[in-house]
C-alpha cells in the first residue's frame, strides 16, 4: 500500500479522528498553560480551530470526523453526573448559599433569554433565528430540544450554545476581576448559568469552589430555561 492510499484509508477511520481530537486538545492545552491560562487562549476554541483546519485541508466531512470524536462527546453525560462528587463534598457551602442561588437563577435565566432575543430582534433577526437563540445559555442537548419544540433550528441553536460557552469562558475571569468580586461561589454560579459546561470547565481551572457552583448553576438552569423560554418568547417575538 503506498503512503497516499494509507492516508486515505486512515483518515476515514474513527481511530484517526479520535487521536487527532485528543492531540489537538493537548496542543491547545499546552499553549494555554504557556500563556499562564490567559482566558483568551481558551483550549476549546484553539482545539476547534486546529481541527477545523485539519478537516478542511483533508476534505473530511463532519460525519466522518464525528464517527471518531463521538467517544469523547459521549463522556459529557457521565461527566455531568460526576459533578455530584464535588457538589456533595461542598454541600454545606451550597446549602448556606441557597437563597442567593435561587435569586441569581431566576434573574440570570430571565436576563439571558430577554437580552439575547431583544438585541437580535433589534438587529433584524427573523423569528426562527430568535427561537433558536433564546435557550443559548443552557447545555446543548437541552437547548436543542427547546429550540426544536418551539420551531427553531436545532443545529443553529447548537452553534449559538457553543459560541455562548466560549464567550462566557473568555469574558468571566477578567470581568469579575475588574469588578473586584472575590466571592468564588458567586463568580462560579454566574459562569455556569451564563455559559453552561464550557463556563463550568473554565470555573474549575480557576477555583474548585467556583467549579462546584458553576456545575450547580448549569444543572438548575437546564431545568429553568426550558420552562421560561415558551413563557417569555411570545412577548418578545409574537
Amino acid at each position: 500500500m503506498n503512503s497516499f492510499r494509507l492516508w486515505v484509508y486512515l483518515q476515514t477511520t474513527p481511530l484517526f479522528w479520535l487521536t487527532a481530537t485528543l492531540g489537538a486538545f493537548l496542543v491547545a492545552d499546552a499553549f494555554a498553560r504557556l500563556v499562564g491560562r490567559n482566558p483568551i487562549a481558551n483550549p476549546v476554541l484553539i482545539s476547534v480551530a486546529l481541527l477545523a483546519v485539519l478537516l478542511r485541508m483533508s476534505g473530511t466531512d463532519y460525519q466522518t470526523y464525528f464517527n471518531g470524536a463521538q467517544f469523547v462527546h459521549f463522556l459529557l453525560g457521565p461527566a455531568t453526573v460526576a459533578l455530584a462528587v464535588p457538589l456533595y463534598r461542598n454541600l454545606a457551602l451550597v446549602r448556606r448559599n441557597l437563597l442567593p442561588m435561587l435569586a441569581a437563577l431566576g434573574v440570570g435565566a430571565f436576563v439571558a433569554i430577554v437580552s439575547s432575543v431583544a438585541i437580535a430582534a433589534a438587529l433584524g433577526a427573523p423569528h426562527v433565528v430568535l427561537v433558536s437563540l433564546a435557550p443559548k445559555s443552557v447545555t446543548a442537548g437541552v437547548a436543542m430540544a427547546v429550540s426544536e419544540r418551539l420551531g427553531g433550528l436545532p443545529p443553529l441553536t447548537a452553534a449559538l450554545v457553543i459560541g455562548t460557552g466560549i464567550i462566557g469562558a473568555i469574558v468571566v475571569t477578567p470581568m469579575m476581576n475588574a469588578l473586584r468580586i472575590r466571592d468564588y461561589a458567586a463568580r462560579g454560579f454566574a459562569a455556569g448559568l451564563a455559559s453552561h459546561g464550557i463556563g463550568t470547565a473554565r470555573a474549575f481551572t480557576v477555583d474548585p469552589v467556583a467549579g462546584v457552583f458553576a456545575g450547580v448553576a448549569m444543572g438548575l438552569n437546564a431545568v429553568v430555561t426550558p420552562i421560561m423560554v415558551p413563557l417569555i418568547l411570545p412577548w418578545l417575538s409574537p
Partner: protein
C-alpha cells in the same frame, strides 16, 4: 475504576429513564447528578461518609478524572459549529448574532453575580440584625 465508571453510567441511565418515562423537564444526566448526590447523602446517614471517603472512593476517583477533562468533551460539538458558519453567513446574520451573544453573555454574567451578591448581603444584614 470500572466500579466508579459503572456507577456514573448507571445514574445517568436511571436519569434518562426517569426523564423520558415521566416526561421531566430536566435532562437525564442532570437527574443522574441529583440521584448520585442523594445516594451519597443516604449512604452518609447509615454509615458515616467522610470527605476523605468520598474523594478516595471509586466514584470519587472516576469523577475527578472525568471532570479534569471536561473542556475536551466540548471539542467535537465545537467542530460541528464551524459547519454552521455558512448557515449564519447566508442569512447575513453573523454580525447581529455575534453582537447578541457577546452583549447578552456579559449582561447575564453581571445580572447573575449581582443578584447572588445582593441577596447574600441582604441575608447577612438581617442575620446580623437578629444577632444584635
Amino acid at each position: 475504576m470500572i466500579r466508579g465508571f459503572f456507577l456514573l453510567l448507571l445514574c445517568q441511565l436511571v436519569g434518562e429513564a426517569l426523564a423520558r418515562g415521566l416526561g421531566l423537564p430536566a435532562p437525564g444526566p442532570v437527574i443522574g447528578l441529583a440521584l448520585l448526590t442523594i445516594g451519597f447523602a443516604v449512604r452518609n446517614r447509615w454509615w458515616q461518609l467522610t470527605d476523605e471517603d468520598v474523594a478516595t472512593s471509586d466514584v470519587g476517583k472516576a469523577a475527578t478524572g472525568l471532570l479534569g477533562a471536561l473542556s475536551l468533551m466540548f471539542v467535537p460539538a465545537g467542530v460541528g459549529v464551524v459547519q454552521y458558519f455558512g448557515l449564519l453567513g447566508e442569512h447575513g446574520l453573523a454580525v447581529a448574532l455575534a453582537v447578541a451573544l457577546v452583549v447578552s453573555t456579559v449582561l447575564t454574567l453581571l445580572a447573575t453575580v449581582g443578584a447572588f451578591l445582593l441577596v447574600k448581603r441582604l441575608i447577612g444584614a438581617r442575620a446580623a440584625e437578629e444577632a444584635a
